[in-house]
């Protein structure tokens, strides 16, 4: 008798584990606000609820549920993500296999291509031209793969070439306007002129590093683009002849010149620019807010991103951030598209700015936020983004392109490796990852 009881207990336990792993089916009334007759839309975002970013998303969803009361109900789930990208992406990967993807999920800009190429997300339902026109061009471009629109971003980002106004004034250097940036050779002259001045301040002309991670490609790929180069082909499936082109070799050698001439420190020194010991710094748009709030002594300016001597006036500055997309699993593409539009729309963009000081993705949001007209630095970043913004390479093997770029930059500029062979080695590595997309 005892045996039977115990055995059934163990059996129950096992069953509990097995059933606990299965997806849930939500019916009206299960979740607060989900009423009879509404279409249920699940939504995953890549942050926890307690962050300012999470709060902004929550407010957007609440707005959506109010506006579409009786038609749609969006249920937001917050999934933590660590700095190196784990957590959220692990959950997405696992759900691709088990089939538990939500209707709408967030995707990091450079990953849109990989997700689209592997059929994890599907093209959005038809969006009228006038609604598309609300978004910055860079956002539409980032979300487009193979000619179809897959994702719309709520956040946009940019990198500024910041300068210390006091130092440049001391050296008698004038900053050009946005449409006539310094060229590489002009910039080298300026760095040379600043070198002795900065040495006196125990600093460097440039606060610049080539960090491991996404930052390197994000900050320095513009040098590649303005020199007429590219990292991948237009279809994202070829790198040989692009990544290792002569133009790119020239770009890599430009960085080497900067290091060799001592215009920047070969080992990263923290807070060089913030402590007034560097004249220039490349950093994300968030740096403006950091300087304003934490280093009010620094007299900050935003200079136009330097361009190659061969620049043809085309788009070249960094852009891109997290975007919303409809998963391939959703049965409610119309609803999912509405949700994507709402979450990336003007109102959501204003929330994002107010709560996180991240740049919004729509012209409308920028118009509503006064500081982009009143503050010259924010205004400069907005103009750079809307006029010259260029998305990062669109290829399903983006992660490999990004790490290879950083690796090549470090090997060439700091490690003294021969330029052409370093680039060829990168091509070999990326090609190994491209195999699975090319063979079909």
């Amino acid at each position: 008798m005892k045996k039977i009881i115990l055995e059934s207990l163990i059996l129950l336990l096992v069953m509990g584990f097995l059933t606990g792993c299965q997806g849930k089916k939500v019916s009206p009334g299960d979740v607060e606000g989900y009423d009879e007759g509404e279409t249920y839309l699940s939504l995953w975002v890549h942050t926890i609820e307690d962050t300012p970013e999470g709060e902004a998303y929550k407010k957007s969803v609440e707005g959506f549920n109010e506006a579409y009361d009786g038609v749609y109900f969006a249920d937001i789930e917050f999934i933590p993500r660590n700095d190196s990208g784990g957590g959220y992406s692990d959950k997405v990967n696992a759900s691709v296999m088990s089939g538990g993807l939500p209707d709408v999920l967030t995707v990091d800009g450079p990953n849109v291509s990989a997700y689209a190429a592997n059929g994890i997300i599907q093209p959005l339902a038809e969006i009228p031209e006038e609604e598309k026109a609300v978004y910055l061009e860079s956002i539409i471009e980032q979300g487009t793969y193979d000619g179809k629109l897959y994702a719309l971003g709520v956040l946009e980002s940019s990198v500024g070439m910041y300068y210390n106004k006091d130092i440049l004034e001391e050296a008698g250097i004038e900053v050009p306007d946005a449409d006539h940036p310094w060229t590489w050779s002009e910039f080298l002259e300026i760095l040379e002129q600043l070198k002795p001045i900065m040495a006196e301040k125990n600093g460097y002309a440039l606060d610049m590093t080539f960090p491991v991670g996404e930052a390197s490609i994000y900050y320095y790929a513009p040098f590649i683009w303005s020199n007429g180069g590219d990292l991948v082909s237009d279809d994202g499936l070829t790198v040989d002849g692009y990544f290792n082109s002569d133009a790119n070799a020239e770009t890599m050698e430009y960085f080497k010149t900067i290091v060799d001439n001592g215009y920047m420190s070969a080992t990263p020194i923290e807070f060089l620019f913030e402590s007034g010991r560097a004249a220039f710094k490349f950093d994300g748009a968030w740096e403006v807010n950091t300087i304003y709030t934490s280093y009010p002594d620094i007299n900050l300016g935003v200079a136009p991103y330097v361009v190659s001597d061969n620049w043809d006036g085309g788009r070249y500055t960094p852009t891109g951030s997290w975007a919303y997309a409809a998963s391939a699993n959703t049965e409610h593409l119309e609803g999912a598209t509405e949700l994507v539009k709402w979450m990336s729309g003007v109102e959501s963009g204003v929330y994002i700015w107010n709560l996180t000081k991240n740049l919004p993705s729509t012209y409308g949001a920028f118009e509503q936020i006064e500081i982009f007209r009143t503050d010259e630095n924010y205004n400069a970043l907005y103009n750079q983004l809307s006029t010259y913004g260029h998305p990062r390479p669109k290829t399903p093997v983006y992660p490999q392109v990004s790490t290879s770029f950083q690796q090549a930059l470090e090997d060439i500029a700091l490690g003294g490796m021969e330029t052409k062979s370093a680039l060829d080695k990168s091509v070999e590595r990326i090609n190994a990852k491209l195999e699975r997309y090319v063979r079909e």
Binding site: K2, F17, N93, V96, N118, T267, I269, E270
Partner: protein, 301 residues
């Protein structure tokens, strides 16, 4: 009699059952899956297109420069850590055993880093190692040029190893300390009567008595060092030029960042087999010596 035995079995199963279920779900099944995946081209974003590829992954792996580099980095790390941490712990334990005042203070002081999270310790040491950090300031005062430490390909791995020794040594120290205190004082008294020098006492009493602990420390430190990932992840991101890119880090990135579960599984299997072989060799080597030691004792007796 028979009945009692049977009910014992059932009770045993009842206690063991839940653990077995959990172990099966979270350990045995994943282990088997890893082995299976290692023979496939499983790509996390398109699991439907998975095929069996036989030993192709294994062949690819041994031609992959980055894999070999991460493998040798890990071995290098273990080779630095093992003597430093083993001997360091023994040395500290001997010192503390000798100290008469503030014994508790020293014990706690050396043990504190062990209870700190590795991520915190890494962040702390990033400041210590930074180009204008405290270590370079001290070096500067001694007239030595500033060192790049974690920012140079040649110094990064040793710098991280040094930090790891500092972080981990307290744990082994406590183990040795326990061993030292368990040695019968009569042995030392007898040795003193024979006018043995301190070195002879250490060599012929302390070391042989600590032998089983040495084996334990040797194996745990080795396995712990092979698992290194947190320090380079926090401090260097595997750089500069992949000089601190370790096996486990490589497995993690291949699987989660590049989505290549197949290759990552292959790496994990190769790595597991390597560590297993090493552990077996270690235990055979150390066991042999122990047997000899016992035999010698028996003969002498």
């Amino acid at each position: 009699m028979m009945k009692k035995k049977k009910s014992n079995t059932i009770m045993g199963m009842a206690f063991f059952g839940p653990a077995l279920v959990l172990l099966t779900i979270f350990l045995f099944i994943p282990m088997i899956l890893t082995l299976v995946f290692s023979f496939t081209d499983y790509f996390a974003l398109s699991p439907n297109l998975t095929h069996f590829v036989g030993f192709e992954n294994y062949g690819k792996l041994f031609k992959d420069e980055l894999f070999l580099q991460s493998f040798f980095n890990t071995v290098k790390f273990v080779l630095i850590i093992l003597p430093c941490q083993g001997l360091g712990a023994l040395g500290l334990a001997l010192l503390i055993n000798k100290v008469t005042h503030c014994k508790k203070y020293f014990k706690v002081a050396f043990f504190v880093p062990v209870v700190m999270s590795l991520a915190v310790v890494s962040t702390l040491w990033m400041q210590i190692y930074s180009p204008e950090g405290i270590l370079n300031t001290i070096l500067g005062n001694l007239g030595i040029n500033a060192q790049p430490f974690i920012h140079s390909a040649s110094q990064a791995l040793p710098s991280i190893a040094l930090m790891s020794v500092w972080q981990g040594v307290g744990y082994q120290m406590i183990i040795f300390l326990g061993g030292l205190q368990a040695i019968n004082p009569a042995l030392y008294e007898a040795a003193e009567m024979d006018h043995a020098s301190s070195w002879q006492k250490f060599k012929d009493i302390t070391l042989p008595e600590l032998k089983p602990l040495c084996v334990f420390v040797f194996i745990t430190v080795t396995i712990g060092a092979f698992r290194m990932i947190v320090q380079p992840m926090v401090m260097t991101g595997g750089g500069p030029s992949h000089s601190t890119y370790t096996m486990v880090y490589n497995i993690y990135e291949t699987g989660t960042v590049n989505w290549e579960i197949g290759i990552a599984s292959t790496m994990a299997i190769v790595f597991a087999i390597f560590v297993m072989i090493l552990t077996v060799i270690q235990s055979i080597l150390t066991r042999d010596k122990e047997d000899k030691h016992v035999n010698k004792k028996a003969k002498n007796g």
